[in-house]
Every structure is written in structure tokens, then in C-alpha cells.
């Protein structure tokens, strides 16, 4: 195993690679993808085909819902930030919107998602929401409402920051239109990195919330809000009885090391799902962190 280091160049390369991992967000992205690819390849050979297909679709659904949620969140917060800026002089309207937003901010995210999912269940029961695509979009919509405030706050913080400096008044007295200053100069030109950084963080939150809520409603007293109604995601897959047994095996193998090899064969389904969730959350966090350090945010 140490063989690769006997060569000086190889070791240099190894050092540079480690250095890069610490510094480069793109490498973390690559690492994430590579991790996924390795797991997939392993599963391809050692996991039964139906289970693999289930995991694939669950992973894609989770990714898709989270991506959509982030996209929707951007879609809400940009116009909201601009509008809030323009109605700031209309005190009563502005104050009531802010009052409302502050209330929404104080509602724990999981409660928001739970309320949203309850509404979705009602819609599904009344057969207003049938196709699985529509369900995915609706799930994303619910999550986006819960997370978008974070981005809105950060956009407003950016606008306020530039308003406090000479940047904003200097453009204003040059006759540049306010909308251009806010949207082009402040948000587009000067806040893109901040927005991307926030979006990455929100993507992580979206994955986490979605897995959690799906896990909860699948594992919960599944009488009426049945997980069967929602498309399979990593969370609901993890809640399945056999996946839970697989996870229990992790704890088991910590105390009985001879049990470890079985984790990668017998208990593959649960382990894969758990790994996908945890490794994705870790990678997203790392990408976010390194990105922020690189851009000096």
C-alpha cells in the first residue's frame, strides 16, 4: 500500500492532490461524483437489479426535487428582494410584509414542510395531484417555500450593504435607473458568488429536509398519509424495514468487526442509501465551504 510513495514524483503528486482537495471546491464536486460512481459500480455487481433500480430512481428523485427547490427559491427571492426594495418607502405595506416574513422565519423548517406535505396529501386524496412528475414538482415547491427566505435575506443584505456605501448613491446621482443598480450592478455583477454560495447551502438543506420528511412519513404510523402516494426518494427508501435492518448492521459491526464484510454484500441496500445521503450532505457542505473560502465571501 505504501508502494506508491516510494517514488518521489508520485508522492509529490499525492501531496498536491491533497492540497487541492483542501483548496478546491471543484475537486470536492469531482470527489462526490466519483464516490457516487464507485458505489453504483459496486452495487451493479453485488446488489439485485430491482433494488438497484429503486435506489437509482430514489437518488434521481431526491436530486431533482432538491435542484428544483433551489431553482424555485431563486425564482421567488430575486423578485421579492427587488420588490421589497421598491416598496420600502411605502411604510405600512412594507412593514406588514416584513412582519409576515418574520413570522415565517420563526416557523421551524420541518414544520413548514410537514404542513406543506399535509396539504399535498389532501390534494392527492382528492385526486388533484396524480402524475408522479407533478408530485415531484409539488414537493420541490413546498421545500422552496421553506428555504427561500434564507436567500431572500442574503439578497437584501447585499442590497443594503451597497446602499450603505457610496456605491448606490453615486450611481443614483449619475441618473442610472434604480432597477438597473439593484438588479444589474448589485445583484448580478456583485453578488453572484454570494448567491451561488447560498444556493449550494440551500441545496444541502433541501436534500436534508426532503430525506427527513420522507423518512418520517414513511416510518410514521402510515395510515392515511401513506408514503405510497409519493414518488420514492432516498428518505422513504431508508425507512423501509430491510433498509433499517441494514443500518442497524453498521452499529453492530462497530462492536463486531468480523461483521464488516457483510455490510458490503448482505446489507448493501440500506448501506448504499445511508451512504448516499450522508456523503452527499458532506460533499455539498465541503463544496460550499471551499467555494466561500476561495471567493473570500
Amino acid at each position: 500500500m505504501y508502494g506508491i510513495f516510494t517514488n518521489r514524483t508520485a508522492m509529490k503528486t499525492f501531496e498536491t492532490a491533497l492540497n487541492l482537495i483542501q483548496k478546491q471546491d471543484r475537486l470536492w464536486l469531482l470527489g462526490w461524483m466519483a464516490g457516487m460512481a464507485i458505489v453504483w459500480t459496486w452495487d451493479y455487481f453485488f446488489l439485485n437489479a430491482p433494488a438497484l433500480r429503486l435506489i437509482e430512481s430514489a437518488f434521481l428523485n431526491t436530486g431533482l426535487v432538491s435542484l428544483l427547490a433551489v431553482f424555485f427559491a431563486l425564482l421567488w427571492s430575486w423578485p421579492a428582494a427587488v420588490t421589497l426594495h421598491f416598496i420600502e418607502s411605502k411604510r405600512p405595506v412594507y412593514m406588514s410584509v416584513i412582519f409576515f416574513l418574520n413570522i415565517v422565519r420563526s416557523v421551524p423548517q420541518i414544520l413548514g414542510v410537514l404542513i406543506g406535505y399535509t396539504v399535498l396529501t389532501v390534494l392527492i386524496e382528492r385526486e388533484l395531484l396524480e402524475s408522479s412528475d407533478a408530485k415531484l414538482w409539488a414537493m420541490a415547491l413546498v421545500i422552496s417555500f421553506v428555504v427561500f427566505l434564507e436567500l431572500l435575506d442574503s439578497l437584501r443584505e447585499r442590497i443594503r450593504w451597497f446602499q450603505r456605501s457610496d456605491f448606490y448613491p453615486a450611481m443614483l446621482v449619475s441618473g442610472v435607473s434604480e432597477s438597473r443598480i439593484i438588479q444589474y450592478d448589485i445583484l448580478w455583477k456583485n453578488s453572484r458568488s454570494h448567491i451561488i454560495n447560498k444556493l449550494i447551502a440551500m441545496f444541502g438543506t433541501a436534500v436534508f429536509l426532503q430525506c427527513s420528511i420522507d423518512f418520517i412519513i414513511s416510518v410514521g404510523l402510515s395510515t392515511e398519509v401513506s408514503s405510497q402516494n409519493f414518488p420514492a426518494t432516498l428518505g422513504s427508501l431508508l425507512a423501509k424495514m430491510d433498509s433499517k435492518k441494514d443500518i442497524l448492521a453498521i452499529g453492530n459491526s462497530l462492536f463486531n468487526p468480523e461483521y464488516i464484510p457483510r455490510l458490503f454484500t448482505t446489507h448493501l441496500q440500506g448501506i448504499t442509501v445511508a451512504f448516499l445521503i450522508v456523503f452527499s450532505l458532506l460533499s455539498i457542505y465541503m463544496i460550499n465551504r471551499v467555494f466561500a473560502l476561495r471567493k473570500r465571501l
Partner: protein, 368 residues
Amino acid sequence: MKNKLLEHGYSVAAVGFVLFFFSWALRTPAYSVQYPSDPLLNKLTKIDSLHPEKPLHRALLKESLDSFYPDQSARNDSLIDALIQWRRDTYMAAIKSARMDREWSWNRFNDLAAMYSTFIVAFTIVTALIYFGSPALGLYQFIRYNRVCPPDARQWCEACRIVFKKIPGNRSHAFRRIASLKLKWFLKSIAYAVLFSPAYVVAYSFKTNFEKDSMVFLIALGFGTNGLLITSAYKCFSILTSESRKGYVETARAKGLSADYDHLPMRALLQPGKYFSNHVAGHIYKQAVFQYRPALKELASFVVTGLIIIEMALNIQGHLGYELLKSVLYRNWDVVMVIIFGIFLLIKLTEAAADVWHFHESNRYENV
């Protein structure tokens, strides 16, 4: 300050009103027993002492029916099945309706109040642990980030080169070094995996049944999983990093304060005040902690999210989150609204407390 507190008060009132309205609007009509139309079945349902679920009762009933209606054994069987089904349905409906229609009794209120207080205790402990733990962890990350001394990877390479006699050195020492590094990385990756895992992944690795009295377990999960600790630590880390680029740090260095992170003793991290004598880290930390204070507000809502996820996902009986989930599933809207209101109140109180605290702390620096 007064305005802020008033706003908190108003929002509690507004939310209370909205929730009350919903629980009123979503109330369900009173429940009445529906009797089957089959006359024989109808008669059987009226016999209170008959429990056909019990094998003995079932056998007796079957025998009596067979003796009354011989040659209709199949019909008798299905009659008994239908009776059992009816009793089960009626029972479930009764339970449900009992939950829904039951007047707010002291007992019920006490149950909820007990769950709520348990929740508050868990919430307070977890919030405090994370709130005071994350600056220390963030500072630890910050100091490590600023160190220029050989990182672990380089030490590993060096030890490997000694082992393979590429450079001179003590080989047994190098072996030990490699082993300890391996152990360190292993523990570190486990710690990272736990910190980023959703609570239910960690919890189900250890057990499948979660009892009412698993408070310590709940707190440990709330503190260490769901990425809560690591994200708040990261928040501190980024405040520290951006503060370290500020002008006052440069001036402090010109005054002769040290900026050498390689020889900064890590034990200072364990002191409550994190006092670094003659080092810029002290200056940076002081300002960072001040800026981190308002984060207590958002932390409150994240901690609640984490705890509720744990209680719901692990089905911890007798805990607020589980009760909430159960009530949502049974559509007991009034209980749902009361619990949501209780949680909202808890967060608002924390926010108000954080506002007051921050106001007083900042006032110290207002030159008044």
C-alpha cells in the same frame, strides 16, 4: 428594543389567532355509531358481552350459529368475519372520534404540558450546547486553517519515506507515526460521518426501539447529528476568517501581537473566555463571538427542526414531535394547532431573549 419585543408579541398573537381559526374551521362533525343493515348481524352487534375476536368466543358463537343454522357453515363464518370487521371499524372510529371530540380535560392538558416541558428541557440543553460549543469548534477549525506547519498528509509522506529508507530516520518511530495518523483519520472520518448524518441514520445504527425515557440519547442526537453543530461551527469559522482580514488585526500585529498560529496552544479552546495573551486570535475571537450572538435566533429554529425530526423519525412515544405526527395522521387538528403554537411560542421567546441579550451587550459598546 421595545418595538422589537412588541413585534414578537404581535406575531405570537397573530399566529395564535390564525391557528385558532384553523382548528375551528377544520373541526369534524360529531361521531355516531352506524349499525349494519343485515338484521342478524345487527342483532349480534347489540350483545355487549360478545367478543368474537377472542378464540373462545368465536368458537362458541360459531357453534351456536351452526346449531341454529345448520348447513350454512360458510355463511356463518362470513357472518362472524363481518362482525369482527364491524367491531374493529367501530372501535377505530370511536378512538378517533374520542380523540377529536374529547373535551379539553385537565388530563389531556397535563399530558401535553408534560411533553412540552420535556421538549423545552431538551431544546434548552441542545441549544446551549451548540451555541457555546460551536465557537470553540469554529475556532479550532480556524486555527488549523491558519497553521503553516506540516499538515497530516505531509507528515504521513515523510514517515513513509523513512519507512522505505528514502530519507534517514527512526523507522519504528515512523511506523508508530503512521499508525497514529491512520487511527486519527479513521476517528475523524467517523466523527464527520456522524456530524453530517441525519439523526435517524445514526440512531437506527444502534437500536430500533426508542423508549419514552431516552432523553440523554435525544440530546446527544440533537447536539451531534443533523449537521447542526458543524454548520454553526462553520458559521463561526467564516466570521473568524472574515474578521481576520480586517484592519484592526493588521494594526494589532504592528503593535507587536503575535499572529503565529503554529505555536498557539489549543488548550485555550477549552477555557470559557478563550483568552489568548498577546495573540491576535484573542482580538478576532472577541469580535467574532459578538457577531455570532444574533445567530442564536436562527439556531433556535434549527434546533427545533432537529429535535422534531428525531422524535418523529424515531417514533419516541410520549414526546411532543411524535404526538404532533400522530395528531397530523389522525387529523386531530386542535392538538396539531396547540403543539405548533407551543413551538412557535418557544422560538419567539428564545428570539426575544436573544434580542434583549444582544441589546444589552451592544449597549456596553455604545459609549452611553
